[in-house]
């Protein structure tokens, strides 16, 4: 189950929904990504996640199928939010359920790693001076592309 949404989610509700009607689950692994209250420049700030509507869903369906081909999973849920998020807010939820503990945990880590590095999302962090687009690359490259702007909210 894949959802890309602006709204928050309730982890307990999603866990119940996922395990309902499943008869062979032995373990459920979950990961919740949260907006840190200390941004990369040390100051707390909100962030905005911009994404590529259509492509995001398409890539998430592909990676879910990839996980299902690698591990014996009974169920997968991925919920990813976009838009402006305050410190402490939930960003992403990945749940994997399997008869086998290790399969659930490994698949969860695999999906989170993929989301972190390959999903078409761009992150704008608000700072005292305006904000900056977070760069995915090494910190010295990041310094050259860092860019302050006053109106940084993504269209996502």
């Amino acid at each position: 189950m894949i959802r890309i949404q602006r709204e928050d989610f309730d982890v307990g509700v999603e866990l119940s929904a996922l395990s309902r009607g499943q008869h062979n689950i032995g373990g459920i692994a979950a990961f919740v990504g949260v907006v840190r209250e200390i941004g990369s420049d040390g100051a707390p700030g909100a962030m905005t996640l911009e994404h590529y509507p259509g492509m995001t869903e398409r890539k998430l369906i592909e990676i879910e199928a990839d996980a299902l081909s690698r591990w014996p999973l009974d169920a997968v849920s991925i919920i990813h939010r976009y838009g402006r998020l305050e410190p402490g807010e939930q960003i992403v939820l990945v749940i994997t359920a399997s008869a086998h503990r290790t399969a659930a945990l490994e698949a969860c880590q695999f999906l989170i790693d993929w989301l972190k590095t390959k999903a078409p999302f761009w992150k704008f962090e608000e700072t005292a001076g305006g904000g900056k687009w977070v760069d995915a690359r090494s910190s010295d490259e990041l310094a050259t592309t860092r860019w302050l702007e006053m109106d940084g909210r993504g269209a996502g």
Binding site: R36, Y52, M55, K59, R81, F121, W133
Partner: protein, 88 residues
């Protein structure tokens, strides 16, 4: 050709989405980037350092040598930064 721009590419170019008709000699992504760079200061600045430009054609990541056709949806954006929480 449907063009989409994301993150700071969108802000430098000034629009998130536009419909363009590049001339027939625009056959690859590189050709498109060259052609767009001629369109104005925003485009030129956004596409100056191509090492930080990534491309998707019809919602699949592609290289700069990927061929283009007029019906394609072409998206230009910085390297994706993912959506999860902290940097770790």
């Amino acid at each position: 050709m449907q063009l989409l721009y994301f993150a700071w590419l969108r802000l430098k170019i000034g629009v998130g989405e536009e419909q363009l008709e590049p001339p027939p000699e625009v056959a690859t992504v590189t050709d498109l980037l060259d052609w767009l760079s001629e369109k104005g200061d925003g485009y030129a600045e956004a596409l100056l350092d191509r090492s930080v430009v990534r491309v998707a054609v019809n919602q699949e990541y592609v290289g700069f040598d990927h061929p283009l056709s007029p019906e394609d949806e072409v998206a230009l954006f910085p390297p994706v930064t993912g959506g999860c929480g902290g940097p770790g």
